[in-house]
Each structure stands twice: as C-alpha cells, then as structure tokens.
Amino acid sequence: MVEIKTKSPQEKEEKPTPPRQEEMFLATVKGKETVLPEDLYVPPNALEILLDSFAGPLDFLLYLIRKQNLDILDINVAKITEQYTSYIELMESMQVELAGDYLVMAAYLAELKSRMLLPRPEEQIEEEDPRAELIKRLQEYQRYKEAAEKIDTIPRLDREIFAAHAKLPEFSLDTPLIDVPLEELTIALSEVMRRAEQSQAHLINFEELSTRERMSQILERMKSESFIEFTSLFKPEEGKIGVVVTFLAILELLKDSLIEIVQSEEFGPIHIKGIEEVH
C-alpha cells in the first residue's frame, strides 16, 4: 500500500545511492499521501537492521510508545496502530521479509482500533476497555524484557567472573618400560631353541631363509602389529636353523635401530617394538 516516490527498484539494484537526509520520504498510505513522521525516516537498508534490533513486535511497540514519551497506560491505539502499520507496509514495499509475528500484531492492532471506534451497544456497557488486553500484554512483556536486561548485567563466567586454575602436577600413570638384560634375551632364545628341538621337522630349504628376508618379514609384520611377542616370531617347524636366522634377523634389526626390544616386567614376555622413525 505504500509507494515510495524515490527511485525504481531496478535502478537501486544497479547503482545504490545513499539517500540524502534532506530528501523527504513520501509515502502513500491507503491512497492518502502522507509525509512519514520524522522518527520514521530511516534509510531503507537501515530499516531492516533497525527491526533486527527488536526482539519482536511487542518490543517494537514499546519503542514506538517510548518515542512518543507516553506511558503504556496512555497509549493512543489509533495513533500507535497507524505508526506501526506504516512501518510494516513500508517494509513490505521494500520487500523486506518480515517475521509473521509482526503481521499478526498488525492485524491485532487493526482489530483493536476498529473496536475502539465502533460505538458500543448499551447492553454491553460492562465490557472492558479493548485496550486493556494490549496493555496487559505490553506490561507483562516489559517485565521480562527488564528482567532480561537485569540478567545481562549479572557478573558471569569469563566476562566478570574468572575461575582460578592451577596447572596440574605431572602424573606418571603408565609403568616405565624395563631394560632387557642380554641374559634375559639368551634365556628366551634357549627356550625357543628347546622348543625347536622338540619339533621333529628337519626338512629345511636353506636357500629360502636368508637373514635379510627374515628381517623384511619381521618389519612387514611390524606394520600391522606395534608389539610382537618375541617367541611368536619363531616357527618351530623351521627347525634350529630357522630359529637362528630369525634371531640373527632380530639382532640385525636391533643393530640398525629399526626395532626395540622391551619387557614390561621382569621375567615377563619380551616384545619387539618398532621405532617411531622419521620416514
């Protein structure tokens, strides 16, 4: 319903010129040309931002009432409704997407205004003032609006309240790894040897079991398992020679610092562990 006599929308999109302050905003409201009240004059883009700063139609209404220096109790429904709807219509004409809540309020105000204007039949003389409900809503809303503003001023964590902290002491929760004495290693070897002796497999293809190959096999296995139990590397069916080759491979890897030998407790199982190296 509001036609703004400034520039056409197409022009505006191409070349947005900031509106000049002296330029009066003329709007046609319901066919009647009116000059918008001075406090209604807001640059079109700012209008959207302005509305954003309100928490809703009730907040907006309270603002309009305050602008007129009026008490909620003194509101002039006709005037407020007119102002409110002219804002809303102006927004719509500028294709500002309005929350439905604002339109609901506009409809409610329009209804209220018409009820105020209609002469009331004699028999309904006891009916309460139509404004009472709006006033009640505005007052109720204002209570919580004020409460919210008060809550905003309460000191809060990380704004005014800062919790005191101290750095935690160093915890050593994981048990340290024990160095493996060489004799432990030889005992483990003899254990394996003994087991190998018990095995009766004698057919060994020497050519296939080179130390290098075994080293690669162990490294290959290390890719999928970070910890390999020492004894699990030996296969009894490979016989004594197989055990020796594997043991040599382990020693070679150890020498090349490609693996680490660890034992979590004394006399516990020995494990082979890869060294986290920089590739």
Binding site: G56, M116, Y144
Partner: protein, 196 residues
C-alpha cells in the same frame, strides 16, 4: 592436620576445572575420611586466607569455586584477547522467562514475548547446559517444560534462583482500567459511562 586438609582442598579446587561440592571433596580421602564439618571448617580457613590474595572462595549452585576477586576482574579481562560472547535480546528474554517462570513451555514463552522462539535458540540454551527439559505439560501436543539448570546458576555465580534480580512487579490491573485515558472525543461519553 587441620592445615593439611585445607591444603588438599585448595589443591582440589584449583585443579578441578569445574565447581566441586563437599561430597566430591570427601571422595578423594581414604578412610577415615574427614567429616563434612571438618571440610567446611577447612574451607572457611581457605576463605580467610584469601583475604590478602587475588582470589576468593565462592559458593555457587554446584559447590565451591576458587575465582578471581570480583574487584580485580577488570584487570583479568584485559588479558583475554577474545571478547566474551554477547547474548541476543531473544536469548536473554527467553532465558529470563525460563528462569522466572519455570517450568514453562515454549508456547508460553512465545505468548509473552509475542514472537516465535526458534528451535535453534532453545537448542543453543540446552547445549550450553543452562536449560533442560523437565517434563511435558499434560495438554494436547504434550509440550516440553523447560527449567534452568545448576550450570546456569554457576555461570552467573549464583547459589539459588532467589538470588536473581527481583522481577519487576505487574501493576494492579483493576486500578489500570480506572486510569485509562479517554482518547476519542466521539466515544468519550460512552467511555466515561463505562468507567464511572
């Protein structure tokens, strides 16, 4: 012995990154555990020792917290590069309605605020742990009832809801109706009849 206890409690308060209560404190001791009164006395001792320090012991909803003295917060705030988060009007209004009128449904909040309360907003409040669903109102649609949490009180450094600022009182509606001014001259006669 007494001294030792307060030292331990101070260590607990400083290392926990959350408020802790007396039960939490008692839990770290082996039998025989110090009694709650002993713990309380030790806490008083800590509080007294804070007199000439930059920190204070504060009792809040979830227990106790050692925090920077309120009077010194402006200095500490300067150390923080990031500005603390500001809350939108919508968030604050919704939060205050839940705080003062809990348990409350979303519909009831919307009725008073005159505006839709977004799902995002409610979820945000719940994710921060300030608001929780405490049940459903027994009406069609079974709307959820929301309440504030201890964390909400902790955040604002409060121990009880009653420490919140007093809600502005609602004027007596009976008297308002009598005070209603007359605005339209044509119907003023009607109005004065109604009101007198």
């Amino acid at each position: 012995m007494e001294n030792k206890l307060s030292e331990i409690l101070e260590a607990l308060l400083l290392s926990a990154s959350r408020p802790i209560n007396i039960d939490d404190m008692a839990r770290v001791f082996e039998e025989p555990k110090p009694s709650k009164d002993e713990i309380r006395n030790a806490l008083n001792e800590i509080d007294e020792n804070c007199m000439e320090r930059g920190i204070e012991l504060k009792r809040i909803a979830s227990g106790y917290r050692l925090q920077v003295k309120q009077s010194l917060s402006e200095y500490v705030a300067k150390l923080w590069e990031e500005k603390p988060q500001r809350f939108s009007k919508a968030t604050l209004e919704t939060l205050s309605l839940i705080a003062y009128k809990q348990p409350i449904t979303r519909g009831e909040i919307e009725e008073i605020r005159g505006v839709t309360v977004g799902t995002q907003l409610m979820r945000g409040l719940m994710e921060r742990g300030w608001v929780k669903i405490v049940g459903q109102r027994d009406v069609p649609g079974k709307p959820s009832l929301y309440s504030t949490t201890k964390e909400f009180l902790d955040y604002f450094g409060l121990q009880h809801l009653r420490e919140l600022p007093e809600l502005p009182s609602l004027p007596d509606l009976e008297s308002i109706e009598l005070e209603l001014p007359i605005e339209e001259p044509e119907i003023s006669a009607e109005n004065s009849q109604t009101l007198n």
